[in-house]
């Protein structure tokens, strides 16, 4: 079926997009009646704990997967406009300030896999992108991504997703700006500093709409194909907790009253290494048991944005002091976000 859809999308890409949107919307509308119908067909009462849990699972699983497929597809198409080379050309030679904002925003739409972080870092610095601006990009790119945002939106609503977007961007912008202010260029490894400057000139290769649709399919296969087991696990945990575990189970030690819970969440989060999808089941479990939202988001951000394996690779291009500064600045940013959330909500 996919191959059929792909072949058709190449012949008449516009018609394909319109129909795909309609189909998606139609599917999305049938989710609630479908899940209620499924539960009604099973030999459990809707009002029981099990009935509630099942309805939650049958509704949330297709909903989140559908949302994710749609958004990842669109992002795949958008990504095809923003290659790392183009982003670099946009940022090269700019002075700090506004460029940090640009870099953090471009971090969301520029496709890149975490194992490319270091080559990308060198490539940016080599082309004359200021160090702080490069860091803004490097912090935002993994932390604020479409998977994290979609999952937050699907499970906790758009307000939480927007807050995460806004605060994640702020952390990236401010942390990059501070690192730039500290003038730490001397703490790059010598071979990186001594590399010949490259030109950031960039010539776009023209891409047709059907090629961009292809790119969308590709990222759906790549991303949704990889993360769906985590999502299933997350929703299953959520459904399991739905009505069973007392809601304030975690509140005593991860609630708002425990001031030390935010730093603790960050300290636990940094050595952990997983992607946005992997951390969602944990987030789901913590929140459902009464942990405070700020604490949980701080945990999520530190898991995704700061990871030990990444530091080990970064060590090849940064001297210890710069790595320590990087971790320190980003972790403080996340701490502030955690406290802010707990205080506002």
């Amino acid at each position: 079926m996919t191959t059929l859809a792909m072949r058709w999308s190449q012949r008449s890409p516009r018609a394909f997009l319109v129909l795909a949107v309609l189909l998606w919307w139609g599917l999305y509308q049938t989710l609630i009646p479908l899940s209620e119908g499924l539960v009604a067909a099973l030999p459990v009462t809707r009002e029981s704990h099990l009935g509630g849990a099942l309805q939650f699972f049958f509704y949330d699983t297709p909903k989140v997967l559908l949302l994710l497929t749609g958004i990842v597809f669109v992002m795949g198409m958008i990504n095809s406009y923003f290659t790392p080379e183009r982003t670099r050309a946009l940022l090269a030679g700019r002075s700090e300030g506004l460029a940090n904002v640009m870099a953090a925003s471009l971090g969301i739409v520029t496709p890149f896999c975490s194992c490319s972080a270091v080559p990308l870092f060198i490539g940016f610095v080599q082309a004359g992108v200021p160090l702080g601006v490069t860091f803004s990009f490097l912090i935002a790119a993994p932390m604020v991504n479409e998977v994290a945002l979609t999952l937050l939106f699907g499970m906790f609503g758009w307000k939480v997703a927007m807050l995460y977007l806004g605060l994640g961007l702020s952390v990236a912008i401010v942390a990059g700006w501070i690192i730039g202010r500290l003038k730490m260029e001397a703490h790059l490894e010598d071979w990186v500093r001594d590399m010949p400057r490259t030109n950031a000139r960039f010539t776009a290769t023209a891409m047709s709409l059907s090629e961009r649709i292809d790119a969308g399919f590709h990222s759906v296969r790549e991303i949704v194909g990889k993360v769906w087991p985590y999502i299933l696990a997350g929703i299953a945990i959520g459904a399991g907790i739905h009505g069973y575990v007392p809601e304030d189970f975690m509140a005593s030690f991860m609630g708002k009253e425990a001031w030390w819970s935010v730093p603790l969440a960050v300290v636990i989060g940094v050595p952990m290494y997983t992607n946005a999808a992997g951390v969602i089941p944990i987030v789901q479990a913590l929140l459902a048991k009464g942990a405070a939202l700020g604490t949980v988001l701080a945990f999520m951000m530190s898991v995704i944005a700061l990871s030990l394996p990444e530091m080990v690779i970064l060590r090849k291009v940064l001297k210890i002091r710069l790595i320590a500064t990087f971790i320190g600045v980003v972790a403080s940013g996340i701490l502030i976000v955690g406290y802010l959330f707990n205080w506002v909500l």
Partner: protein, 78 residues
């Protein structure tokens, strides 16, 4: 014989790329020498920013992500 280099710091995608190239070469019965380039300095000297990258006879033909089977076939038969 084509001289192929795969640039990457040793992540899963890089290994998949190498395996895929070898597979296609075998299926089409084309002799190739596939080398891994894992040292950062060497990767950067090709001007590649996103890995895995593919270099054929000294020419960068691909960067960022696992190349599709069709593209590999094109490179090998070119």
């Amino acid at each position: 014989m084509k001289d192929i280099k795969v640039l990457g710091t040793g992540c899963a995608n890089c290994k998949t790329t190498i395996a895929l190239i070898e597979q296609v070469a075998k299926a089409k019965d084309i002799s190739v020498s596939v080398q891994k380039v894992e040292e950062l300095k060497d990767i950067m000297s090709y001007g590649v920013m996103s890995t895995p990258g593919v270099v054929i006879d000294g020419q960068v033909v691909h960067a960022g992500g696992i190349p599709s089977r069709d593209r590999i076939e094109q490179w090998l038969s070119a």
